[in-house]
């Protein structure tokens, strides 16, 4: 890696001030597992002049149950979340999602906020030495559109209608299904509004804005949540498709459902049609299958990724079934 300046921030203000001082040519580092890979490969036109370590800001890694739910510090590691007894019991989808992210070692390093704010994995964008100046880097075209797009969006593009890189996070759909909120140094944003694509950006965060806390509301009585991931390998792999659902039932009938797919679109995709199709019915093979069909009804696969559509459909179905009364019948993905 080319050298850079390094600062250990002691407060959020200090970190933001440092970033502004470098005129945007600096980056925050927490777990570093995404950022250092980008820097080693020199994938972006600009190389940061300084890294600002935010791991040294005290009090940002706590996981606490509050009166109205659960608050997770931005620096809580994925391993902490995957093994936390309260999260496993009440916010199951998030514990499962964190536990299926990357590998055990990376889960000891990577943070929840880093997982939400991670950059895309499109192989043209990630090609070493900034080989493809694509739309996402402010360039003129999307190379995946006519190139190899087997791991790209089945729900259209962004950035001038072009960039079809998917959002690769495993925890993002879980947070959206659990109706979480992201609290930053400047504001509070619903997890479902947190992701927004523009040049060099995957979230609504401003350059000097830092995620401080993730808040999850206490689940209503009768709520079950689950996360499922389809990937080529069981470990050290990004999802081909993943899905999280949180479903509330009253006397077996669904009263509220939140279902979110990810890795299928440029941002995590809440599947409102699937949710609506579940409300009022019981959870069984037929209703879950219908919800799966509704979730992919608007899919527009590209030349190389039509195979993702049935995977997304099946994953929605299985995730719903896991939230139902007889989850043992579902094959694990």
């Amino acid at each position: 890696m080319k050298n850079f300046e390094h600062f250990n921030a002691r407060s959020i203000d200090e970190a933001a001030t440092l970033l502004v001082r470098y005129g945007g040519n600096a980056a925050f580092i927490a777990g570093g597992t995404d950022l250092l890979g980008k820097m080693k490969d020199r994938i972006l036109p600009a190389y940061p002049e300084a890294l600002i370590n935010i791991k040294t800001i005290p009090g940002l890694d706590a996981i606490e149950e509050t009166d109205d739910g659960l608050s997770i510090g931005a620096l809580a590691t994925l391993a902490q979340i995957a093994t936390h007894p309260v999260i496993r019991e009440k916010y199951t989808a998030l514990a499962q999602a964190a536990g299926r992210t990357a590998s055990p070692q990376l889960r000891n390093m990577g943070t929840i906020a880093g997982n939400l704010c991670q950059d895309i994995r499109c192989w043209y964008y990630r090609a070493t030495q900034n080989r493809f100046s694509c739309l996402r880097k402010g360039g003129g075209r999307c190379y995946a559109l006519k190139g190899d797009n087997r791991y790209h969006s089945i729900f259209g593009g962004s950035v001038k209608g072009g960039c079809i890189a998917v959002h690769p996070s495993d925890t993002a759909p879980a947070l959206i299904a659990l109706d979480g909120t992201v609290i930053t140094s400047k504001r509070t944003v619903k997890a479902s509004d947190f992701f927004k694509v523009s040049v060099n950006r995957t979230t609504v965060l401003e350059p000097d804005e830092i995620v401080t806390t993730i808040h999850l509301p206490a689940p209503a009585p009768g709520t079950q949540s689950a996360f499922m991931k389809f990937a080529l390998r069981q470990s050290i792999d990004f999802p081909i498709v993943n899905c999280a659902a949180a479903i509330t039932c009253e006397r077996e009938a669904v009263t509220r459902a939140r279902i979110c797919l990810n890795a299928v679109s440029v941002v995590p995709r809440r599947t409102v049609a699937a949710e609506q199709s579940m409300v009022g019915s019981n959870i069984d093979e037929n209703t879950a299958d219908a919800a799966g069909a509704a979730a992919v009804a608007n899919a527009e696969p590209l030349e190389g990724n039509a195979y993702m559509v049935p995977i997304a459909r099946t994953l929605v179905k299985r995730t719903i079934l896991v939230c139902g009364p007889s989850p043992a019948e579902v094959d694990p993905v």
Partner: protein, 191 residues
Amino acid sequence: METKDFICPHCAKGFKSPEEMKAHMLADHRGGALPSPEGRIRLTINGKAHAPDVKPNWTLYHLVHDHLGLTGAKQFCDRGACGSCTVIMDGKPVLSCMILAIECDGKTVETVEGIAAAGHPLINAYVKHHAMQCGYCTPGFVTTSKALLDDNPRPTANEVKIALSGNLCRCGTYPQHTIAVLEVSQKLTAS
């Protein structure tokens, strides 16, 4: 942001006059040691205290392997995707290629050399069950296994597989690792 000529050496906040900066330093950083410009860190590696001067762009792997001569941890992918460079930091297995050395101040690190020097039975079990072919990934596996047994002295076969799922072996020795780790687990918990 307006130009400010006086930069706090602690936090790089800018000030218009030296008086303002002095007031800020007294208020916010009183008694705090100045950050070392060279990146001097203090850490414990295999029970021994070290205080190396590190550059910001050194990874922990660079420090341990290239500068301290502990060549057990191996660099393979250098992108956090193979587990060959695993070391134990504060009790947890982590990838030394994706951690900046300068951020390891105050940490306790254990490498495969420390595990071998302590006479841990994993080493002999790996030899006995030949849990290697070319051997390049082996230090990473041994380190990850040691962290597992410290955390969970009686893992099930499945727990061993999950714990080792971040380590890749090109030679396909995976079944032998579970056998070796479970045998050591029995040995350690029987006594």
